[in-house]
């Protein structure tokens, strides 16, 4: 296949592949916790809220990781502050704060008039991954995977029954903000492959697909990571072969997997449910 030959031949494609796979894995894993906590909208919000931090980092000439994490966390705290101190519900608070952060980011980037391409931050450009980007992604990936491995028990109990966790003395809010920190890190790692706007798809779609296929969290994490990886590789292949936008292609492949599970999942699939229902009716 031409794609495999090209991967062997071109360094930029190897870097793109490695980065995409890492992003597929960590998005898939963090995404499981995001959807189980009912925080899909929050995932969308935090990924957008990274933008002003990235812009300011470029202005100050510091590593954009620092700015991105800071603006992500400040937005997460702002969302919590508004919903806890007024009658404004959480989803409304999310809508206000993340659009504000995103708008601020766009203004800052247009003010910079530098070589930083807004389009690439928003939509990703995986074929232009630099070695430094790849190392950042690998570093973030290792940190995220290690955190989830070590704190699996804490993430499980706070996701399933946060009241119990709070009663027995876990710092539930701190764990929430730590998860938000991991989320901003994952977003930063995904900037190059899928871009800010479509990160949320990589977080939610593989996780939701896995959710339809299993009843165990540990299995769901592995499935989700696998589906994210597969979508990344296949997406990259189509993107390279047919010269399509990489982020959008990866997301559409993930959506295709989701639809497969939605219709054909052995237990949760629409077709299985339909058969079960009609069987129940005929046996009556």
């Amino acid at each position: 296949m031409a794609f495999i030959e090209a991967v062997i031949q071109y360094g930029f494609l190897q870097k793109a592949l490695l980065t995409s796979v890492m992003v597929g894995i960590i998005c898939g894993i963090i995404g499981c916790f995001i959807i189980l906590r009912g925080m899909a909208l929050m995932g969308d919000a935090i990924s957008h809220a990274v933008l002003p931090g990235v812009a300011i980092s470029y202005m100050l000439g510091i590593n954009f990781l620092i700015g991105a994490v800071l603006s992500g966390i400040i937005t997460a705290i702002g969302i919590g502050f508004v919903s806890q101190n007024s009658r404004i519900k959480n989803d409304i608070s999310i809508g206000i704060m993340f659009t504000a952060a995103f708008a601020l980011g766009i203004i800052l980037i247009t003010l910079m008039k530098s070589s930083t391409d807004l389009y690439h931050i928003l939509f990703g450009n995986v074929l232009a991954v630099r070695p430094s980007d790849m190392w950042i992604t690998l570093g973030i990936g290792t940190f995220v995977l290690l955190s989830i491995f070590l704190l699996y028990k804490e993430f499980l109990v706070t996701s399933f029954d946060s009241t119990m966790a709070e009663v027995y003395g876990l710092p539930v809010r701190l764990i929430h903000y730590f998860l938000m920190t991991l989320l901003t890190l994952v977003t930063v790692a995904s900037l190059q492959t899928v871009g800010i706007i479509l990160v949320v798809a990589m977080l939610i779609t593989p996780a939701a697909t896995a959710y339809l296929l299993t009843d165990r969290l540990s299995t769901m994490l592995f499935l989700s990571a696998g589906i994210g990886t597969l979508a990344s590789i296949a997406g990259l292949y189509f993107s390279f072969t047919y010269n399509l936008a990489s982020g959008a292609t990866i997301v559409l492949v993930a959506t295709f997997f989701f639809l497969l599970a939605f219709f054909f999942s052995p237990r949760q699939g629409l077709i299985h449910k339909f058969i079960k229902k009609s069987r129940a009716e005929t046996s009556r």
């Binding site: 189980l36 070590l150 704190l151 699996y152 028990k153 804490e154 499980l156 109990v157 996701s159 399933f160 029954d161 009241t163 119990m164 709070e166 009663v167 027995y168 003395g169 959710y211 299993t214 009843d215 165990r216 969290l217 299995t219 769901m220």
Partner: protein, 248 residues
């Protein structure tokens, strides 16, 4: 001696969303008590439990568990939440749910070991659910789900057990199984508080009764509380509102 009480609450007042929800609760519960908490809808029963567990701030008053504050004694307390507060589609099976009860005694980063699993299975057996250990929790009936959560609380080996409306919408066999376990715990000297809705069974289920309606209407021996007509007093407001609504 204050320390002899498993639970000693003095002058407790709580607001919820800025409105006063409960005023001046004063109760002292000896170890080995089985206490029912009743009151009409919106009387503040769940608010009472939440304040007790330090989940919401108190306006005033103190809660002492064996003479110390809740945060010093939280290892002694287990809580069975209302069934409708749980996401029954969560990808977790029965055994994993009960294993959560071992988490408080495990440190950070540590995983449950084989011995913890054995303990969880033993508690599942007590509630008669060991055959269902690998089922996803959403596949169970309401009564079975409630028994699994009781098993989780049993794994915590609590001195004080709080249950929030455990018998709502469950079958009679599950209810009997759970009541038997609660009575055994009581005989073993544990203290149990149950938020309850069904007035007909209070005198057979509980020894003491706390009657709430935005404030403490009565507290004491079940027979006394029933004889004094305190319960009617608590529910009176609601009945009259209901009658007015019908007239209109």
């Amino acid at each position: 001696m204050e320390d002899m009480y498993a639970l000693n609450i003095q002058d407790l007042s709580v607001s919820y969303h800025g409105k006063p929800a409960l005023r001046t609760i004063n109760i002292a519960v000896l170890p080995g008590s089985l206490v029912g908490i009743i009151g009409p809808n919106g009387a503040g029963k769940s608010t009472f439990i939440k304040a007790l567990l330090d989940l919401i701030p108190k306006d005033n008053g103190s809660v002492r568990i064996f003479g110390k504050t809740f945060s010093e004694q939280r290892q002694l307390v287990a809580y069975v939440p209302q069934r409708n507060n749980i996401d029954w589609d969560f990808p977790i099976n029965v055994l994993e749910t009960v294993l959560l009860g071992t988490y408080p005694s495990l440190g950070i980063f540590k995983r449950p070991k084989q011995a913890d699993k054995a303990r969880a299975l033993a508690c599942l057996k007590k509630v008669g659910m060991e055959d269902y250990h690998d089922r996803q929790i959403g596949e169970l009936s309401g009564g079975q789900q409630q028994r699994v959560f009781l098993a989780r609380a049993l794994v915590q080996e609590p001195e004080i057990l709080l249950l929030d409306e455990p018998f709502v919408g469950i079958d009679i066999l599950s209810e009997e199984n759970m009541m038997n376990i609660l009575r055994d715990l009581k005989s073993a000297g544990k203290t149990i508080l149950v938020v309850h809705h069904d007035l007909s069974k209070v005198d057979t289920y509980f020894e003491q009764l706390l009657v709430l309606n935005k404030k403490q209407i009565g507290y004491g021996d079940v027979k006394e509380v029933v004889r004094n007509g305190v319960i009617n007093q608590a529910y009176l407001g609601q009945l009259s509102i209901f009658e007015k609504a019908e007239v209109m």
